[in-house]
Symmetry: C2
Subunit: 459 residues, 2 copies
């Protein structure tokens, strides 16, 4: 530990050794110095502080006498007890995402490491680490050009997004990009419309930027242009591929209607294409961005489930009409995504590995989703409604008559199975993270946890 916090004054009249003694004593009492911690040697501290060794020695001596520190022969000085702790509050912190991993993890926040392309990802990262010039300089504000070029081709091929590299802005996931977008819209829009039941991760950003969110009820096909018109909103946030709490994507016809609304009213559609490429039961529907003839769609893409959840890189495709505004402001935004990860991703995309990984994952997820659906149908089909949420990579289960989702999750946890309680009496089982061979025993454990049919009758 450095000791830069020590501030001694040669002019305040108090002997230096006494000032040093008091500051170290306070640090020990406050808990900033912890029991067992080693103090710097007398020589090192005298050099660092520009004081004589005698001064340091006198202070240490006094602290030894009073029992704050002790000298251990050949080893140096150590803090004994502070008589206090750094913090007397209970450790209040956000619930860690993964505290202890259960045996069968149907959570939605990880990917199966056997399906992850760890080996080639590591190779690309290592390769970038060998470019000193890239490491010792800041990144481009807008994101590294090789990555923007690679994403330009990839997003066209995989999603039908039509853009040039200068329309692409990179960021550490969707949220930092939304902040930038909110900045571009600041003061120019009223509220942002979003389909019920909403999407907290996006709504949080709008709220932070002081932008009102209007939750509009949708029908089977999604948000309705008519209710958008009535709401007066000039911006709509849509997730056409992955609708929360509703398995089906927005169909082509509704997409066109929404685009018409945007064109007619001069409004903006924010298309969050989370996992849009991860479809495996039918061919994916291309992004709305590519269907829009005009400048009315902002496209948001990300890779967490496609590549690795730990890699925080997302991208935003700005329509032409927002570009001049963005370019004027870009120099004031520091890039948030890791430069090394950006350059590694550029190589990974350009070499075609992302597309190979996408093909591989589609097969894996088709297999896993069928297996899980089949097993759940057999186990709970009589008493429950099951629904595959294709792009969110999960199956939701709703019993006709049962305790709350939270209680179901608790019962599962007691049998070492992790499921996620959801809204509307639903429980969510993700299949991206669990290995294929664990799905059958996992469902068996669930059956034991949710002893049926008694459970449903008595519940």
């Amino acid at each position: 530990m450095t000791y830069d916090y020590l501030q001694l004054s040669k002019t305040n009249g108090q002997p230096l050794y006494l000032q040093l003694y008091e500051q170290l004593k306070n640090a020990a009492q406050r808990g900033s110095l912890r029991p067992g911690q080693k103090l710097p040697s007398i020589r090192r501290l005298s050099e660092d502080l520009g004081l004589s060794r005698t001064t340091i020695e006198s202070a240490y001596q006094q602290l030894c006498v009073e029992g704050y520190i002790e000298a251990r022969p050949q080893r140096g000085y150590f803090v004994l007890t502070g008589g206090g702790k750094r913090s007397t509050r209970p450790p209040a912190t956000v619930q860690p995402i993964l505290q202890k991993l259960p045996r069968y993890n149907f959570g939605t926040d990880a990917v199966d490491s056997s399906c992850a392309d760890l080996k080639s990802w590591r190779r690309h990262i290592r390769e970038v680490l060998n470019r000193p010039q890239a490491l010792v300089s800041y990144g481009e504000h807008q994101g590294e050009l090789p990555l923007r070029e690679a994403l330009c081709d990839y997003s066209y091929g995989a999603r039908g997004v039509i853009c040039s590299a200068d329309q692409i802005v990179i960021g550490a996931g969707t949220q930092p990009l939304l902040y930038v977008l909110c900045g571009l819209m600041q003061g120019k829009i009223g509220a942002v419309a979003i389909e019920e039941p909403g999407f907290p991760q996006a709504e949080q950003i709008f709220a932070d930027c002081g932008i009102e969110v209007l939750r509009l009820p949708g029908d089977r096909s999604g948000m309705q242009p008519e209710s958008l018109r009535q709401s007066g909103a000039r911006v709509a946030y849509v997730t056409p591929s992955s609708r929360e709490g509703n398995g089906s994507p927005i169909p082509l016809l509704r997409r066109q209607e929404l685009l018409n609304w945007a064109a007619e009213t001069g409004s903006l559609l924010i298309e969050d294409d989370y996992n849009g490429e991860l479809r495996y039961r039918a061919r994916p529907i291309p992004a709305m961005q590519g269907m829009a003839a005009d400048s009315s769609v902002v496209y948001l893409g990300s890779f967490s489930k496609l590549l690795l959840p730990s890699v925080r890189v997302g991208y935003m495709v700005l329509p032409q009409r927002l570009l001049p505004l963005y370019l004027a402001r870009a120099p004031h935004y520091n890039q948030t995504a890791s430069k090394v990860e950006q350059l590694a991703l550029a190589d990974y995309v350009k070499s075609g590995q992302l597309e190979r990984q996408l093909r591989r994952l589609r097969k894996v997820y088709a297999q896993k989703s069928s297996a899980l659906m089949h097993l759940l149908q057999n186990a709970f089909g009589k008493y429950a409604q099951l629904r595959l949420q294709e792009t969110p990579l999960c199956i939701t289960i709703r019993f006709q008559n049962s305790p709350s989702p939270a209680r179901l999750a608790e019962l599962a946890a007691a049998h070492d199975v992790r499921v996620r309680p959801g809204p509307n009496g639903q429980v969510t089982l993700g299949f991206a993270g669990i290995p294929l061979e664990d799905i059958a025993p996992g469902v068996q454990a669930l059956q034991a946890a949710w002893k049926l049919p008694e459970f449903c009758v008595s519940g």
Copy 2:
């Protein structure tokens, strides 16, 4: 390239091969398919689209006949010409930070690779890459716990910051953290006060969040509590260690006065401690956060100049009174900093390497700043005012009588020297990025570029 954007309908009455032909033709005309690009093989596309090989072959045949693509024997089909380009606009993009590196780079946006601790940083990254479990899962919302614990000790030792790990929030630099902070303050504050000439990177974030910024003139010691009181602001943004356009940090007495203002008025001080530890001429002044008895300071720390500019990891220490509010909202914020870089940094800090690097850099910067100041004094001292900006790691030079800073930078560029034009007739020479041995020839080149004294007299 995947071809997921192709959407063929078996029910719309148009032959499939014709639909395919038209969609590929459009892509080529629009420039989405580029000259020289390889098309997927007939076999691959027929599998992907679930169509017969004959269908694909007919479409390709037609495209060949019309000159959009050509068949190269043994190699496959390639796009010939689209008759168009992807984009006809000139490539409008943000000015790249480093276009061509000049021979003598006195820019402020890089560090000298000979001083960077690349070797051990690479080692730590590689070590983290070998932990599959860390890679395949999302990170903690608040930031990885090992890093928060390490920063808790480091920030106390190096800056006198007093906190526990649960008060620390990690983010991809200062800006994403400021967004989160603005969210916490949303609706509860009027304006944020900031000392003239302001700080665009922070002001941009406040503006995005719809928070007004009041620029207050400061005196030699910084912002004055009296003008803060008069402004009615309840939040002040200060950079006590690194004042833009003013070499000197806020002295202890003024810091105490600002803390008194915050305590008396219940206001908040945002302490941006950019490069606070990088002092080498005298011992650093500890952070205000540690001087505050109450809960009135939010501390912001970062590492770009200390570690590597390419690594985007910063941290924010929240005061107790903001913690409950943050914890309630934390689950809605995805972490922005790279998980791998966070874990590598945790190891780097815990092993004491960051502190060793800090000691090393202080010596290097002391040496470089003295050398540069000495040489500039000899070269331009008679006609110019020179000022060392210690923590921003640069020297500003202002001639008594000369062309604009932009013109000075141009003249320097013509001699292969990069300097940064600044406000108030100043030119900035950074010394973090230039190797020590290049400083003398660099100043010589500047002398040739700014032929003095004729220049000053005629300017």
